[in-house]
């Protein structure tokens, strides 16, 4: 993976030079498009058919974990939440959500780990662990096709903070997320098409990773490309960016688990 950094660096510098004066605004609602729209035919086919989408392997493992007793409480997620196709329907479409106990926004991974620690008395899963990705994909799958919802007033401060981060120039390359994803989407960064950067399909099966990965992993990739120090997994800044991205993608359908190049 580190092998592709110099390429990113060089191209990003070139791109930074040509967009230095760009000053675009938000993408109009009716012009928003998911990264799916620009996938090649084969990658689309892979995402469209559950039996050829490798992420299905994680969804099935997530379903098994959902029904498995865990922790010193010796309870399964299913014992409290029942059938996930009903109880988890639409849940992933409105995360990050404001948690009343923590008095802060939390993303779906953090929500799952809260139930791990508070309700199952078990140790939390590590970020990007197979188990956490599997449960997140399984829960996310229950919202497939549903529109992303971002209406909770209590999320406003996080969304605002996320927007600031998105617009702010960072890293050695001194670029902002917006310079690529608002101002230059549809253009190419070497062979990669710059997408609008909507979080519609997470966790995704990324062909480059040969693995499933979370939205935060995706953001770290972009930040490393910008030669900025990525936020720690679960950091408030990372969750704020996620909340902003979900607000920015409001109304677009959830595709979880998506496939991306």
């Amino acid at each position: 993976m580190t092998g592709s950094l110099p390429r990113c660096l060089i191209v990003a510098i070139a791109l930074a030079a040509c967009v230095a004066s760009a000053n675009g605004g938000d993408i109009p609602l009716d012009q928003r498009r998911s990264g799916y729209a620009d996938l090649g035919r084969d990658t689309k086919a892979m995402q469209d058919d559950d039996t050829s989408n490798p992420a299905t392997l994680w969804v099935l493992d997530g379903e098994a974990l959902w029904n498995q007793k865990a922790g010193s409480a010796n309870r399964a997620c299913a014992e409290c939440h029942g059938d996930a196709t009903a109880s988890m329907k639409g849940v992933a479409a409105r995360y990050p959500a404001f948690d009343a106990v923590q008095k802060s926004p939390i993303d779906l991974e953090q929500r799952i780990n809260l139930c791990r620690t508070e309700r199952q008395n078990a140790t939390p899963f590590a970020f990007e662990s197979h188990e956490l990705l599997a449960l997140t994909a399984f829960i996310g799958r229950q919202s497939r096709g549903m529109p992303i919802v971002s209406t909770d007033e209590k999320l406003k401060p996080a969304i605002e903070a996320g927007r600031k981060l998105f617009m702010q120039r960072i890293g050695q390359i001194d670029m902002s997320c917006a310079q690529c994803h608002d101002d230059n989407w549809g253009k190419h960064l070497t062979s990669s098409l710059v997408p609008q950067g909507h979080p519609t399909g997470y966790p995704i099966y990324r062909l480059e990773w040969q693995n499933l990965g979370s939205l935060q992993r995706r953001l770290r990739n972009c930040m490393i490309g910008m030669r900025a120090e990525p936020f720690d997994y679960g950091a408030p800044e990372a969750v704020a960016l996620e909340a902003y991205l979900m607000w920015r993608a409001r109304g677009l359908p959830v595709e979880t688990p998506a496939v991306r190049p």
Binding site: M46, T51, S52, P54, T56, L57, L60, L207, Q210, N211
Partner: protein, 106 residues
């Protein structure tokens, strides 16, 4: 957690050519990569796959390090009799996984 996923039509007509799709979770570690401290990551791949239809081998493949993680294979066969398709994956470190699905020929 190795897990195979097979997609075969539930019913096929006698003489019909039908598609068989298989997906299995496997890291397919090439053996050519190194850790950040310079240690070689040992090879861990699937080396062989086969499919038999009512006991007769109809497709097999040798795998090499260039095959992606979670290999997805599709191939075709002709529907002869109702029965079972059996799948087998063999690999490094004693890896072995099997799956079987029924086929109904009308």
């Amino acid at each position: 957690m190795a897990r195979p996923l097979i997609n075969v039509p539930a019913k096929v007509k006698r003489g019909q050519v039908f598609e068989i799709k298989t997906l299995i979770s496997h890291i397919m570690e090439t053996g050519f990569r190194y850790t950040t401290t310079g240690q070689r990551i040992p090879r861990d791949i699937i080396t062989f796959f086969s499919c038999s239809y009512n006991g007769e081998e109809i497709f097999s493949a040798d795998f090499y390090p260039a095959v992606s993680a979670n290999p997805f294979l599709t191939f075709y066969t002709v529907a002869t009799e109702s029965g079972t398709l059996e799948f087998k994956w063999i690999g490094d470190n004693g890896f072995s996984e099997t799956a079987s699905v029924p086929v109904t020929v009308e």
